[in-house]
Each structure stands twice: as C-alpha cells, then as structure tokens.
C-alpha cells in the first residue's frame, strides 16, 4: 500500500512543475496518500533534533503564528462593536460615539499591523530555516552516497534514491515551510472561532457546528468513491505513456515496416479511453468542492435566518450578528485545512523516515592508512584464499591468484562466472569475506581506499559519462586536488589521452570538438564512441595497473587493435587485467585466466590452454570467443 502510494506520488512529481494543490485532483490525492511511518515518534524526535540548530527560528516562528491567528479571531468581534456603535446612531438618531469609535479603530489598526508583521516574519523565518535544513540534509545524503557500500547500490534502484532527494525531501520541506503553520493557524482559528461563536450565542453556535461532522463524512465518502476512478485513470495514463515510449524507441521499425497507420489507429483508441478516464476522474475530484460549498452556504443561510430572528427578539445585537456571520465565513478555509492536516504530517513523517533509513544504511568498509606512491607501485598482486559473496551465498571460495608486475592478464568465462567480481574486489568495491588480497606486499585493507584506487585505471563495461563537455569527461580521470575544477586539467593532456584511445578522430569531427556537451546518458554519441571516451578517461590517469572490463566490446576490431597497440606502448611495464569475449582481444595476453562459477579453472597462455583441451579449448571451438 505504502509502496503503491509512493509510486503514485512519484508519477505525479515526474510531471514538470505541477503544483500539487493546483486542482481538486491534488487535494483529493493528498487525502488518499496515507503513507505512514513505522515509528512516528522516533522519526519526529529525530526531525526535531535536526531542527535544533535552528530552534530559535522555529520557536519564534511558531509563537508568531500563534499570535497572528489569535489576532485574527478578535478582529471580527471588534468590527462588530463598531457596527453596533453605528447602528445605535442610526436607530436612535443620535450623534456617533466618536471616542469609542476611535478607541476601537486604534486597537484594530494596532492589531492589523501586528498581524501583518507576525505573519510575515514567521513565514520568512520558516522559509529560511527549512531551506537551510533541507540543504544540510541534501548534503548529508550526497556524502552518504559516497560512503555507502556498493552492496547498497546493488539492492536499490536509482529512481528510488533520487526520489528520496526530490519527492520525499520536498514533502518534508513543504510541511515544515507552509503546511505546519497553515495547519497551526487553522487549528487556532477553528478553536478560537468556535469559542467566539459560543460566546456570542450558544444556540446559533451549535447550529453552525452541525456542519462540521456532516461535511467531514461527506468528503470522506466522496474520496472513497473517487478512489477506483483515480486508479483507473492512473492505469490508463501509465499505459498510454508506456506505449508512446515504446513506439518512439522503435522508430526505425515503425517507419521502415510501414507500421505508422496501424499504430496511429491503436493509439487513437487508447487516447480515447484515456480521455474518458481523465475527465471522469477530474470531475469526481472536483465534486468535493461543491459538496463542501453546499453545506457551508446552507449553514450561512440558516445562521442568517435564525440570527435575524434573535436580533429582532433582542437576544443578539446587530454588531454581534454581523460578527457571527463573519465567523461562519472564517470557518470555510480552516475547516478544509484541518481535514488534511493529519495526512500531511503523517506523510511528511513517512518521507522523513525513508530519508533517515537511507542515512542510516550500512557504511563502507574500514579504510587503512597506508599511502601509495604511484611511481613506486610495482603492480604485484596476490589473491590469497579469498572468499566472497554478494549475498550470504559465497561466489568465490578459496580463490588464489598471483600476478607479477607488468604482466598482462586476460580473464574469460561465461556470464556470471565472476570476471567482474574479480575486478570489483581488486578495487575494493566490496569487502571480502575471508582471505587476503595483496598489492605490493601489503594487504589491501591496510591502504586507505583512496590511495589504493590511485593505483588503478579502470574502464568498465557500462559506459558511464556525466552530462558535461567531452573535455570535462576525459579530465575526470585525472587527479584533481580538492576544490579544484576539472578545467584545471590542461587541454594537451586531454587531447593526448584522446589520441591514445583513438577517440580523437570522432571528437575532431564534432562541430564543437572537445567542448561538445554530452547529454544525460551521453545519448548524443554512439555506444562505441562512449567506450572510446571512457578509455581516454582511464588513459589520462596514468596508473600502474589497468583494468579493462569489456572495454572495447562496442568498438570494431580494427580500432580496437589500434587502441591495444597504443596501450601496449604506454603500459609496457604496467600490470593489466583485460576481460573480454573476443579472441582478438585476449590471445596476446601473457596469461589467460578461465573462470567458471566463481572459480579459476584454468590459467595459461592461449597456446598452452588450447593444447590442454580443457574449458578454454571448449569455449574456443564452440565459437564463444
């Protein structure tokens, strides 16, 4: 249920800049969303603790809000008094009691200004507090990202994490910034108004009160009725955008196989159904408004009639009557707000709890302190009885491997054999369960992880590039001291790295060359070109150990050969690990490691392994290489 609500909220938020409260739909959706925290009290306390650096902001704001809403309550009563003065002048045809009028007017002006100032300052205080608080939580979340173990990322989706930063945090921010004060104001006004009403006339007040439970039940009923309509609409919306996405992605097939007209008919059908569900669901969501209006207006009329009777019978002054009418009007807004308050707070707490559970997630491995001097690193690596598993089930059992400095190692094996895992462990992305991985005679646990990773240049299977210029993306591989920009990396270095990676020729052909901006996911260049850039990024690092994980799988063999040659010049004395499925990529390696189900099953040169006629020879003849 909670999950369902989250995705629903997410869907809404994906639409750019739709203010949630904009229409009736938003209001009802707010009532429907009832994601609740498991530990409300704990989360609330922690949120308050987070607020504590700003506690004076917060407390002052709350006090100011209370004052402002308190003032709000007295104003109609005082105005009523003035009207009484005027009425008596008219009825008794005497001169106006100006001194009394003036006194009341002065009090009123003071109250107005007071109300204005307190409302404004409490708003400003809350905005400042919330924004600063949110910023600090955002920063905490980002810092947390880089401290988390990779296991966390394996388990969670990117969308969920981003949603924490956006939707959940926004939810908390809105509640703190406006939700809290408007709820507070609403409650104070509601209570105050009720008191004032009873103070003016008890029976009339009772009559006015009847509306509250009726209106509540009616809205509740409508919301319940509306739910299936909303769900249906959400379903059709999802279906439609899913189809659009698929068809746009399949552009080539759609065009070249003449599917356009057929799909147009199909989509027009779907669009028609979406239209039906859309207007129905928005109609239903708007219904709460007339329902509320009906009751409030009927209430107003009843109060007017009965109140008029009381004024005639002398039980009520005209000013009091007028004030009473004002109070019934004041009930309108707070009433709706109070209906939503519990939901708002609950859903903010649920959001806060999700954020906290992210911030509390298990952190990275213990870092050592040893520093590495890259120029001295030899690149001698040893796996010593290593056990490892991503889950409780072990993938690596007792893995042993010795790699000599400057050796070129190729790793082959089927999907899931543990090739990438080997790399992950070298970089210490994951903590091994047992055994040792040794670099240059030190257990890698002794090194500071930052220092350890300085020893490696890595090119991964997935070609992650960030949105930014090609220049910055290559420069990303170079060491930049903290606080320094990527622009500090000299262009010559970047161009040299691009040349080594054979990325220069395609970059030179782009209109803006190295300043070409890559879009998110680098969708504006081809897969092969992305790989060339990631290789260039690794080249600029000039590390003593190179890891290439299917780094050239989308590059054609001829370009790949050029890259290999370049790399060999550069890395004649570096240790390298190359994972590949292409024969051309691996056959020159000093040794080939064949992996299967987390175990190293064969090691040797290409020729020796073929001679042996084992797993490698089998893969070779089956054409898997």
């Amino acid at each position: 249920m909670q999950e369902a609500n989250r995705t629903k909220e997410k869907k809404e938020d994906d639409l750019p800049g739709i203010s949630k409260g904009a229409g009736g739909a938003g209001r009802v959706a707010g009532l429907l969303a009832s994601g609740s925290a498991k530990d409300n009290k704990g989360t609330l306390l922690r949120l308050l603790k987070n607020i504590s650096p700003f506690k004076w902001f917060f407390i002052t704001a709350i006090i100011l809000t209370l004052i402002a809403s308190g003032v709000q309550i007295f104003i109609p009563r005082l105005i009523g008094n003035i009207i009484n003065i005027i009425t008596s002048t008219l009825q008794q045809e005497i001169a106006l009691d100006w001194p009394a009028f003036r006194n009341l007017a002065v009090i009123l002006i003071l109250l107005f200004v007071f109300q204005f100032l307190s409302t404004y300052f409490s708003n400003i205080l809350l905005v400042k507090m919330t924004q600063k608080l949110i910023r600090s939580i955002r920063n905490q979340m980002q810092e947390k990202l880089n401290r988390l173990t990779l296991k966390y990322f394996d388990r969670s989706s990117t969308g969920d994490m981003v949603s924490l930063l956006t939707n959940d945090l926004d939810n908390v921010a809105n509640t703190l910034q406006t939700g809290l004060t408007s709820s507070l104001t609403a409650i104070v006004i509601l209570i105050g108004v009720v008191i004032m009403m009873f103070n003016i006339h008890a029976i009339l007040a009772l009559l006015a009160m009847v509306v509250i439970p009726i209106s509540y039940l009616l809205v509740k009923f409508l919301v319940k009725k509306a739910k299936p309509t909303f769900q249906r609409n959400a379903k059709f919306t999802g279906h439609f955008s899913g189809q659009v996405e698929e068809i746009y992605n399949g552009e080539d097939i759609v065009k070249h196989y003449n599917l356009g007209n057929e799909l147009k008919a199909e989509m027009s059908d779907l669009n028609e159904r979406l239209y039906e569900s859309e207007w129905k669901s928005s109609l239903v969501s708007f219904l709460t408004r007339p329902a509320g209006d009906l009751i409030l207006n009927a209430n107003y009329v009843l109060v007017a009639i009965l109140g008029g009777y009381y004024v005639i019978s002398g039980a009520l002054s005209l000013g009091a009557f007028q004030a009473f009418i004002q109070y019934t009007q004041m009930l309108r807004n707070p009433f709706n707000q109070v209906l939503g308050i519990l939901n708002t707070i609950m859903s903010a707490l649920a959001s806060a709890e999700r954020i906290y559970s992210f911030l509390d997630a298990e952190e990275t491995l213990q870092s050592g302190t040893e520093e590495i001097n890259i120029s001295k690193t030899l690149g001698k690596i040893e796996f010593n009885q290593v056990d490892f598993g991503y889950t409780d089930e072990l993938l690596f059992k007792n893995v042993n491997l010795k790699v000599n400095p400057g050796e070129q190692l190729a790793i082959v094996g089927t999907t899931g054999a543990g090739k990438t895992t080997l790399v992950n462990l070298l970089m210490r992305f994951y903590e091994i369960n047992d055994g040792q991985i040794i670099l240059d005679d030190h257990d890698t646990k002794q090194y500071h992880t930052d220092e350890l990773r300085k020893a490696y240049a890595m090119v991964l299977q997935d070609t992650w590039l960030f949105s930014g210029t090609i220049r910055d993306n290559i420069a990303y591989g170079a060491a930049v001291s903290s606080g320094e920009d990527l622009s500090a990396v000299p262009l010559e270095d970047i161009e040299a790295a691009a040349r080594l990676a054979r990325a220069d020729s395609f970059i030179e052909r782009l209109p803006e060359r190295y300043d070409t901006v890559l879009t998110e996911g680098a969708a504006n260049i081809s897969n092969g070109e992305r790989q060339l850039l990631t290789i260039a990024r690794a080249m600029i690092k000039k590390a003593p150990i190179i890891i290439l994980d299917e780094a050239t799988s989308s590059v054609d063999t001829r370009t790949e050969l050029f890259i290999q040659q370049a790399m060999q010049e550069l890395t004649s004395n570096t240790t390298s690990f190359v994972i590949a499925h292409r024969l051309s990529t691996i056959h020159d390696a000093d040794r080939i490691i064949v992996m299967d189900q987390g175990a190293i099953v064969e090691i040797g040169t290409h020729a020796a392994l073929l001679e042996k006629g084992g797993r490698y020879a089998e893969m070779y003849t089956a054409g898997q290489l």
Binding site: Q115, T119, A304, G308, P511, H606, A607
Partner: protein, 585 residues
C-alpha cells in the same frame, strides 16, 4: 495555438463559462440578500421579510451548487478533450516525421512533450477556465453590486482594488524569474545526484567523491539561496493583502460612521459592502498566487508548439503504385552520393557509388563511425542526400513515397528493437497476416524455433518491455526473423549478426542465402567472416569507399581491409585451429 484547439470544444467551453457565470452570480447574490435581511427584516423587525429573503438565499444556494456541478462537467470534458487532441496530434506528428526532420529531438524529450507537457497545459486550461475566469468576474461582480448598494462606498472599493492588484502583480512578477532559477538549480542538483548514483563505481575508482561533493554542495547552495529569495518575496503577498483588506474595512467603517450621522446609509448596506470588499480582495489574492503557473505552462506550450510547428523537411511524395509496378528493373543504385548530418557540414559520406542487383549479395565493411549505417539510412530515405542520387528500381527515391521504398527494401536495423507482447505479434509486424506456419519457418531459419518450441507458451511467448527477458543474440535473431517474413526485393542486414557466435551466425546466413536466393542482399558488418562470401565487398573508411572487390582481391590490395583482417585473425604462431575456424566460417 491553444485557441485553435479550444475551438473544437467551443460549445463545452461556452457552456462552462455560462454556468460559471451563473455560479458567481448566485454566490454574489447571497450577501446581497443579507443586506435586505438586515435592512428590511432585522431593523424593521419583520420576521416575514427574513423568512422570504432566507428562502431566496436557499434558492441561490441551490442554483449555486447546480451551476457549479454543470460547469465542472463541461470544464472537465473540454480540458480532457483538448489534452486528448494535443496528445493525438503530437503522437501522429512524431510518427510521421522523417529522421531528418526529427533531427536532434531525443526520444525522452518527445515522450515528455507528448505526455507531461500536455498534462501541464491541461492544468493551465483548467486554471484559466475555472479559476482565472471566475475570480475575475467575481471581482467585477462584487464591484458592480457595491455600486448598486451605495455609489460613494463603492468608489472607495474601486479605488483600492487596482492598487492591490498592481501590488500583487508586482510581487508576483518579481518572484517569477526567481522560480525559474529554482527550477534550474533543482534540476542541476538532481542530475548531479542521479549521476553520482549511476556512476558510483567510476566516482570511486577515480577518487572523485570529494569533487562530486564539492559540485553537489554548490548546487544545493544555489537551490537554497534561490528558494529563500523567491519565497521571501511571495511570502509577503498574502499578509500584505490581508492588511490592505483590513484597512479598507476600517476606512469604510469610518465613512459609514460619518454618513450614519447624516442618516445617508443603512447598516445592512454597510455590512454588505464590507463583505463584498472582502470577497473582492480575497479573489485578487488567489489570482496572484495562480499567476505563477503561467510561466511554467508557457515552457510546456512552447515545447509542444515546437513539435507541432516543425514541418517535414523532406519532400515526401504520395504513393503512386503505377510507378513502382511498371518498372522491371530491380536495382538499387548509389550515384556519387555525398552526405553530412545537419547542422554540421563535415562530410560524412563522400562520393559513394555502387549498385545492388537482384540475386546478388554485396557487403559493406568498416570501422565504427565510418559511415556504413548512414548509407542504409539514406537508402531508406531517413535523410536526403546532399549531392548525387539514389535510385531504386529505376526511380529516384525522392520521387517515391516512403511506404513504397519500405515495400521494396526490408531493413533489419543495427539496434534491435522488439515490441513488448508475444513473439507472434512481433513477427507479425513484418507481415500482418503471417500464419503460425510461416512464423515457425522464419524462426527456424534464425535457429530460434527450437527455443520457442521448448517453452510452454510457444508463439505466445511474452516479450517484456525492452525485451529484457531475451539475450542480445536472441533479440537479434528475432529481429532478423521479423525482417525475413517480409516480402520485398531487397534485404539490408545492418550489422545485425554482431551478437551471434560464429557457428550460429553461419547457420543463419546459410538459411538466409537459400531463402533469398533471387533477392538482392546487402550485408553490413565489422567481422570479415560475415562479409567474406559476398560477390563484392565495399570497404568504407572515413566516409569514403577505400576498396572494392571480392575477399581474395581485397586481401591483396586494400590496406584497411588487411588491417581489419589482422585485427580479427589470430596472430599467435601455432594457432592453426583459429585460422582454420576463421577460414571455415
């Protein structure tokens, strides 16, 4: 643009505006009746008057509700209808575009425009019709009724309204650009965060955690400051309007007091006027806070407009079956074709000349980015050539309709795309009325028949979105099968064997050669083994044909071809097996 769309729902919109007006009128009538209750009922102590006006008030309340319901009914239908039309038109527009017209629109932005931007526009329409309209006429109505009650008092209201209105507008317009700054800052921040998550391994591997934190904190700082700046301005709005409202009331009370002494005003009138003043100012406040939606919608409208206004760049001809049926020549011919992708004018293809005849197998080979796939794109007329011409069965392809080109040429694309749905549905996109037998036949040709026979569902096997439940090789083979089931003169295999292992590829290619023996086949590949058997191989490098001939000829004469062979052939001595395998494929 929106007006044109709104026109189709004119009746609904007029209905909505009419009933909204009725709604506002009845809403305004209630305080007016209150004036009479006070003046004629309460002050004259006439209970009948109170009851009569009370009943009228109840009637107004009834009208109020009914008209609101009707107007909402019209409103929702009109709004949903306009969104429907926009969505439909956007979709059809995008589907009809040639690749050249589509240009730099990415899939994701087109999806956003078709779905999310339309949603945003529908909110705008809803707001304009429902809120802006009623708020405006409420203010006007309140002023008019005030005049009918008491002209002098009404003048006070009339004076103060524009003052407040301008003030509210000023504040809002001051805050608006700041909101777009917030939007930008937030987008930037989210993007940083998302990329940090997706690239976590790279970030760690290159020790860029500090750098990322640094950049992220810059983004959050900007977001924080922009927010405080914008909100501080907007937060002034509602207290300020409240203050003005209160002061207005006080002024009215003062004037009322003075005139009461002269006996020129009634209490009911005073109370009523105060209510209308509150009503008017309240509406202005709502108005001001709604205005913020306009700039946001403007962005969406512009983006939709951009798609709808983009005209097809290519001169597309209507289908003319005479032309294609008459021709007996079965040849695709490239004559001195030059091409560059807009907007850059770097030549991507230069002077490409070749022809592909019926019953012939030809091949293109070259590095990534050499221009091979572009040749296919030109042949399918996704783009127009910049120079030279391409003819198809004797006609310049620019004189043919795209549907006709598609009937003559079957393109099996490089990136495999399968629809979510059954395997049968997918193959049938190649041939609509294909029977199960025909489908099994092509599946067998691509060595996938046994795979599906072994599954319980058979041809009902469900392919998930993005075909995540199939391997790369399987996807490629299904894509090939879908092409093979089509009837056409020419078949273009655009690097679509790349994920197959050698032995499977060999079987698939043999099956293709048998089935399509009387057709023209163009194979595009990076592997030498794939193109080896072609009658003629064109070697493409940097957009030019640098060699042409059969495999043995090119082996001797073409340097680039030799380099490709070297890169794919085993260099190790004593690796006879590999050579043998290489030769045998």
């Amino acid at each position: 643009m929106l007006l044109a769309y709104a026109k189709r729902y004119l009746k609904l919109i007029i209905g909505q505006l009419f009933f909204a007006t009725v709604w506002v009128a009845s809403q305004l009538a209630i305080p007016r009746l209150m004036v009479d209750i006070i003046d004629y009922g309460i002050l004259l102590k006439d209970l009948n008057q109170i009851m009569n006006r009370g009943l009228l008030m109840l009637l107004a309340t009834g009208v109020n509700i009914v008209s609101l319901l009707i107007s909402i009914y019209f409103l929702t239908r009109a709004t949903a209808g306009i969104s429907k039309d926009l969505r439909g038109d956007l979709f059809e527009r995008v589907i009809d575009w040639s690749k050249e017209t589509r240009g730099s629109f990415s899939n994701s932005t087109l999806i956003t425009r078709t779905v999310n931007d339309v949603k945003q526009v529908s909110i705008l329409i809803d707001m304009s019709l429902r809120k802006i309209f009623t708020l405006t006429i409420t203010v006007i109505g309140a002023v008019i009724i005030s005049f009918s009650i008491d002209v002098k008092m009404a003048v006070i209201i009339l004076v103060i309204i524009p003052v407040i209105f301008i003030l509210a507008l000023k504040l809002t317009t001051k805050a608006l650009p700041k909101y777009s700054r917030i939007r930008k800052a937030i987008d930037q921040m989210n993007q940083r965060f998302r990329e940090n998550v997706t690239g976590i391994r790279v970030v760690k591997a290159f020790n860029k955690s500090d750098y990322e934190t640094n950049m992220f904190q810059k983004a959050t700082k900007e977001a924080c400051e922009a927010n405080i700046e914008a909100e501080s301005t907007m937060m002034l709005l509602s207290p300020l309007i409240l203050l003005f409202t209160n002061i207005l009331i006080l002024i009215m009370l003062y004037v009322g007091g003075v005139r009461a002494e002269l006996g020129t005003i009634t209490v009911g009138a005073l109370v009523g006027l105060i209510e209308y003043a509150i009503m008017a100012l309240n509406n202005i406040q709502q108005f001001a806070s709604i205005i913020t939606i306009f700039p946001r919608s403007k962005v969406s409208i512009d983006r939709i407009q951009e798609v709808l206004a983009k005209e097809e760049v290519l001169q597309i001809k209507e289908a003319n079956s005479d032309l294609t049926e008459k021709s007996t020549e079965k040849t695709i011919r490239f004559e001195n074709v030059d091409f560059c992708y807009p907007p850059s004018c770097m030549d991507l293809l230069k002077n490409i000349t070749f022809e592909l005849n019926k019953g012939e197998i030809k091949a293109l080979i070259g590095s990534t980015g050499s221009g091979k796939s572009t040749i296919v794109r030109l042949m399918m007329r996704d783009y127009d050539v910049r120079h030279g011409q391409i003819t198809c069965n004797g006609h310049n392809i620019a004189s043919l309709a795209n549907t006709e080109i598609n009937q003559i040429i079957t393109h099996i694309p490089q990136t495999t795309f399968l629809f979510s749905g059954t395997i049968r549905d997918n193959i049938q996109t190649g041939k609509k009325d294909a029977t199960d037998d025909e489908i099994w036949e092509v599946l067998d040709m691509v060595q996938m028949g046994d795979f599906f026979r072994q599954t319980e569902e058979g041809l009902d096997f469900h392919i998930a979105q993005n075909a995540v439940n199939l391997s790369g090789g399987q996807k490629q083979r299904i894509s090939i099968a879908r092409g093979l089931i089509r009837e056409s003169d020419f078949y273009i295999f655009d690097d679509c064997f790349s994920a197959l292992d050698y032995s499977t590829e060999k079987k698939v290619r043999q099956a293709i050669r048998q089935k399509l023996s009387d057709k023209g086949i163009l194979v595009i590949a990076q592997r030498v083994a794939t193109v080896k058997d072609a009658a003629e191989i064109l070697v493409i490098d940097h957009g030019k044909i640098v060699g042409r001939g059969s495999h043995p000829e090119l082996e001797q004469t073409c340097k680039v071809y030799q380099e490709i062979i070297t890169s794919q052939k085993s260099l190790n001595t004593g690796n006879k097996n590999a050579d043998k395998q290489f030769e045998s494929v």
